[in-house]
């Protein structure tokens, strides 16, 4: 089935009317992913933005047309591994899926995620990465980029935003031999759909799909610009799209195209409130980091 057919014909399994903050692409990503995953899916959503907007249901309203379980913040991978182990005996075709934010994935959930990959648990783990703990007021997380002003990494006379650099969990999981790892972006839907499709076909281990998810409220951009920023993240190579499939790295087509004549990272940074204090040198530092990562990825994929 082509991407258009998938998106047009398959049922939207997220309840109608459910919406996140204005311009949040995480909701779009969830809807898109579930059109591919289909109704035979069990979803685990730990506390975070997507749980906060009511995907597990709230009051008498359901958030999804599939079963949803809400694990604890830091152990979705183990809880869903248990669900999958039980389902393996009932119906192995059921997809056991986690849809977690970056805080629940790369910070407190990394231990259980890494262990699930090591054990070869056949779950599909989505991380929507908005680069911070956004639903509790924009605290920094492990994926917050260097220099970003967040409520726990403020810019001021005594500090200059986040000290660390964005933690690269997709590469981490690829190098520890998860079955399938991919980076996805809601600005490149065809690539997005293909990768989710591929994840549903993998039956011999953990699939990890890392979605770039600009947060208009937290990043300080207009709600109607979130997809533009998502696109800029890909085209500036800030967020390269790639796949790791059972030992082989492949750079995805949108990033291959972008790699020929990448936009400068400064175009991705421009207009974001969290970056507005950055100096030329700091922007250059981010650019150098992006270039270094891109070169590394090219070596891995060659």
């Amino acid at each position: 089935m082509s991407t258009m057919d998938t998106l047009m014909n398959n049922e939207d399994l997220v309840s109608p009317g459910l919406s996140a903050c204005q311009g949040c692409p995480a909701e779009l990503s969830l809807r898109t992913a579930f059109k591919v995953l289909g109704p035979k899916t069990v979803l685990g959503v730990p506390p975070g933005c997507i749980a906060g907007v009511g995907v597990p249901g709230w009051g008498l309203k359901t958030g999804m047309k599939t079963p949803v379980v809400m694990p604890l913040l830091g152990n979705s991978a183990s809880l869903m591994a248990g669900v999958k182990q039980a389902y393996a005996k009932i119906d192995p075709e059921v997809h056991c899926v986690v849809f977690a934010g970056d805080g629940a994935t790369v910070d407190s959930g990394l231990q259980t995620l890494s262990a699930a990959a090591e054990r070869g648990e056949n779950i599909i783990y989505f991380c929507y990465d908005n680069e911070g703990y956004m639903n509790t007021g924009f605290q920094k997380s492990g994926t917050t980029p260097h220099g970003a002003h967040m409520s726990t990494s403020p810019f001021g006379p005594y500090s200059r935003g986040n000290v660390g650099f964005k933690k690269d969990v997709p590469l981490m999981l690829a190098t520890q031999d998860a079955a399938y790892v991919a980076t996805l972006c809601p600005s490149h839907v065809q690539d997005f759909v293909n990768k989710v499709q591929r994840a549903t076909e993998v039956k011999d281990g953990l699939c990890y799909l890392h979605i770039m998810s600009p947060c208009p409220t937290g990043w300080g951009v207009k709600p109607d610009q979130s997809i533009q920023y998502a696109r800029a993240a890909v085209e500036s190579l800030y967020f390269p799209l790639f796949e790791y499939d059972h030992g082989t790295f492949t750079i995805s087509r949108p990033s291959l195209r972008a790699g020929k004549k990448p936009r400068p990272v400064s175009e991705f940074i421009a207009g974001q409130r969290r970056f507005r204090h950055l100096t030329e040198e700091e922007i250059q530092q981010l650019q150098d980091d992006v270039t270094r990562k891109w070169n590394l990825l090219n070596k891995l994929a060659s």
Binding site: L73, D107, G142, S151
Partner: protein, 385 residues
Amino acid sequence: MSATQQDVRFVQGNEACVRGALYAGLRFFAGYPITPSTEIAEHLAENLPKVGGTFVQMEDEIASMCAVCGASLAGSKSMTATSGPGFSLKQEAIGYAAMAEIPCVVVDVQRAGPSTGLATKVAQADVNQARWGTHGEHSIVTLTASTVQDMFAVTVEAFNIAEAYRTPVILLFDEVMGHMRERLVIPPAGELPVTERLRTAVKPGVNYHPYLPREDGRLPMSDYGDIHRYHVTGLYHDIWGFPTEQPEQVNKLVHHLVDKIEGRVHELARWKEFYLEDAENVLISYGSAARSARHLVETRRQKGHRVGLLELQTIWPFPKDLVREKTANAKNVFVVEMNMGQVMAQVKQAVDNPDHVYLVNRVDGTLVTPTDIGNVMRVIEGKGV
């Protein structure tokens, strides 16, 4: 200092806690975002660097507590802040701090639980967890407050107690206290006593025993990694800090860990009392619930009712003698709290007539009100529902 020069602010309880911690000399904070305590981390992220301190956001709650243990051992006054789910995760490391006698302060801004519970709603159900959350025999100090000004003061106290007795101290606040804004007057430096760390006088090259108490029971510390080499472990250990399984040494350490706190119940007891002299009905409360209790007492006193309030600021070690003494002449005792009677159970053990101890509670995520208290009192006094 004249009134115009006073440092007066209108702040949330969480910020008052931050100001108290800085007043007491906090220099290291490690934390993880969790409602309703996050403002403590946010204010410290901004303010700790100003005084040369260090703020670190860790990858989870366990890591935060462990970093606090490490920083404190190395010589910094250290603190972490969390709420129920994070408090559960920290428990093993709190046990480590109790065992290795590492001074530190752990703030728990309580929300309704268990588990994720009600992330933004009030409860006071971590009272027993503060005491018994970590496994094994130990004792611990837990303080509460019912005004923003008191939150400042008990935070300073918490650091003093932690440093004096080399113990973790739990600050058990709650969502209402953490988020409520009130006037805070920050006293000038020196007005409130601040206990500095007791460091050993033992010179470099001379044997230093990190776990050999002085005559007064205090253990002088040496900044870890500085001039003395010594061992720190969560295993039972001897005066050198080396692991031991010798029954007499294990026995001695258990008693030391318990006695250094339980033997100082009177010294550690902090409380406030209102109209207790002639009270027939005594309310016992703490934290935000004590505000409702106090309101009821004030309004009933205006009508001539003989009702009084004992507000506990120290919950652990539980001041049994104090409670018995203050309720000696009471007909009825009402414990006002937002759990299923965790402090009431202690009060029942403390008083001479436990049958006349009643619970006024609310466990629905909302604040217990003066009306709730009045309703229970009416029933007990036989005035109908």
